[in-house]
């Protein structure tokens, strides 16, 4: 399993011991990196539009893909392409600003993304004997 993320909290958590690909960039950059991996035959394991936060709200995204690359997976492809389209639809609109506490806001977005991917990792761990957590 490979965790593609731009969330420093996810990247920095030693408790998440699977392979990580850290993206220094935007939420969309993470989606693009995952898309390119899917084109190479990796499978999507968690939904790229995790959470109900809109792509022009939260800057963070963490996505799980398979470590193995086989033949290209059509379902994964469809989901990532649709997710990129949704992202593009939202980022046309101005980003929300922090009203007085940008740091708190970013920390909260980071925390939510972190918790959502932990929930996905738990689902994954149940299947592979818990070795990844």
């Amino acid at each position: 399993m490979i965790l593609v993320t731009n969330n420093p909290k996810v990247q920095g958590d030693p408790g998440i011991s699977c392979d990580k690909e850290y993206i220094e960039g935007s939420l969309k950059d993470v989606l693009i990196a995952v898309r390119d991996r899917i084109h190479k035959g990796h499978k999507l394991l968690s939904h790229p539009l995790s959470g109900s936060l809109k792509p022009n709200e939260t800057p963070y995204k963490s996505i799980l893909i398979s470590k193995e690359a086989g033949s290209m997976d059509w379902d994964s492809l469809q989901i990532i392409e649709n997710s990129i389209k949704v992202c593009e639809k939202f980022v046309r609109y101005p980003k929300k600003c922090g009203y007085n506490n940008q740091e708190r806001l970013l920390a909260d977005f980071s925390e939510v993304d972190y918790q959502l991917i932990v929930a996905a990792l738990k689902s994954a761990a149940d299947k592979v004997g818990g070795e990844i957590l």
Partner: protein, 349 residues
């Protein structure tokens, strides 16, 4: 405030000039209303009035599209209207195309709001529903009364610059722009009603149509491939180096057409991809990996195919968006047929 000035466009039949035998009737303007215009005037009450009617035969219009449009437009303009109403055309195909052309050109070139009315299966609907409001009518003139009522109401709103509601409220054919409005029943009750209809095999209307999944009949196979002219088309975004036409990296609104006379191989220094939907490294190194010009030239020389068409067409769009490229794909298709191409190899990434 004075009455809004309305110009009405109708064909030779509704002007009571004649049927098919008079379909070549040339554009003509008359003061005031003609034929169904009377019903419109009645529906406007004291809010508006038809100041002039422009008449044109359906054959004349469709066979002389550019000239007729200009003539009709000039006549309409001479009345200085606030709003233009074309038709309704019901299920008459050529009349529908004329009404759609007139109304959309009036909006585009004169900046005056214009509407028309058609039966949902009129070919004019698909061509123009995104450009203008087309009121949904019955298939024949028996639906004139309802059509006039709905068209007049929407026309008055447009003339006054009022906000236009959802298609279901105003009666126009859905144009892909989603507009909110309040239904009479709540969503759950509508869902129960819809399910009861669906289970009983009765008609119902979905509130959100899924994207178009229609099909086209396969064309006959090429009889003799060694004599055939084959054209290359790609949605993989292959363009001459530097992307001279500035094809956008995704959901491109245009396509590129490139001359490959004398080109035998696409190289790193001559071609690249403009596509943003995949990792471009492999395609930039060797664009033949997306658009196989090299092998087709080889086959052309060896007589395995008749000829590689002189131009290739290129656009971007990930697989699924290939479906949305409808308008320009139709244009490409037309051109290829006109140029005598026999078959197409379309490559997608």
């Amino acid at each position: 405030m004075g009455k809004y000035r309305v110009v009405h466009y109708i064909n030779q039949f509704f002007a009571q000039i004649g049927g098919e035998e008079k379909a070549d009737y040339r554009p003509e303007a008359r003061e005031g209303f003609v034929g169904p215009g009377m019903a419109f005037n009645a529906a406007f009450g004291d809010k508006a009035e038809i100041v002039g009617t422009v008449i044109c035969g359906d054959s004349y219009f469709n066979e002389n599209l550019e000239a007729a449009t200009k003539e009709v437009l000039d006549l309409i303009k001479s009345f200085e209207p606030d709003i233009v109403i074309a038709g309704p055309a019901f299920n008459a195909g050529r009349y529908g195309m004329a009404c759609g052309t007139v109304a959309s050109t009036v909006e585009k070139e004169l900046g005056i709001p214009a509407i028309t009315g058609m039966y949902v299966e009129n070919p004019g609907v698909d061509s123009f529903k995104k450009d203008i409001y087309i009121i949904s009518t019955k298939s024949s003139a028996a639906g004139m009364r309802d059509a006039v009522k709905t068209m007049a109401a929407l026309a008055m709103k447009l003339a006054a610059g009022e906000e236009i509601g959802a298609s279901a409220e105003e009666g126009y054919i859905p144009n892909g722009i989603r507009v909110n409005f309040f239904e009479e029943k709540r969503g759950s009750e509508r869902a129960v009603d819809m399910l009861l209809a669906k289970m009983a095999g009765k008609p119902y209307t979905t509130e959100f149509p899924m994207p178009d999944f229609d099909r086209v009949e396969p064309r006959p196979a090429v009889k003799d491939i060694t004599k055939a002219t084959i054209a290359l088309v790609t949605s993989g975004g292959i363009v001459p180096k530097g992307n001279p036409d500035h094809i956008e990296s995704s959901s491109a609104s245009k396509y590129g057409k490139y001359d490959i006379e004398g080109v035998f191989d696409l190289t790193e220094s001559t071609y690249e991809t403009a596509h943003g939907g995949y990792d471009p490294v492999a395609a930039n190194q060797d664009a033949d990996r997306v658009l196989p010009v090299d092998i087709l030239r080889e086959y052309e020389k060896a007589g395995k195919i008749g000829k590689l068409h002189r131009y290739f067409y290129s656009t971007t769009g990930n697989g699924t968006a290939v479906a949305s490229a409808k308008a320009y794909a139709a244009a490409i298709g037309k051109e290829l047929v006109a140029d005598g191409v026999d078959a197409v190899i379309l490559t997608s990434t």
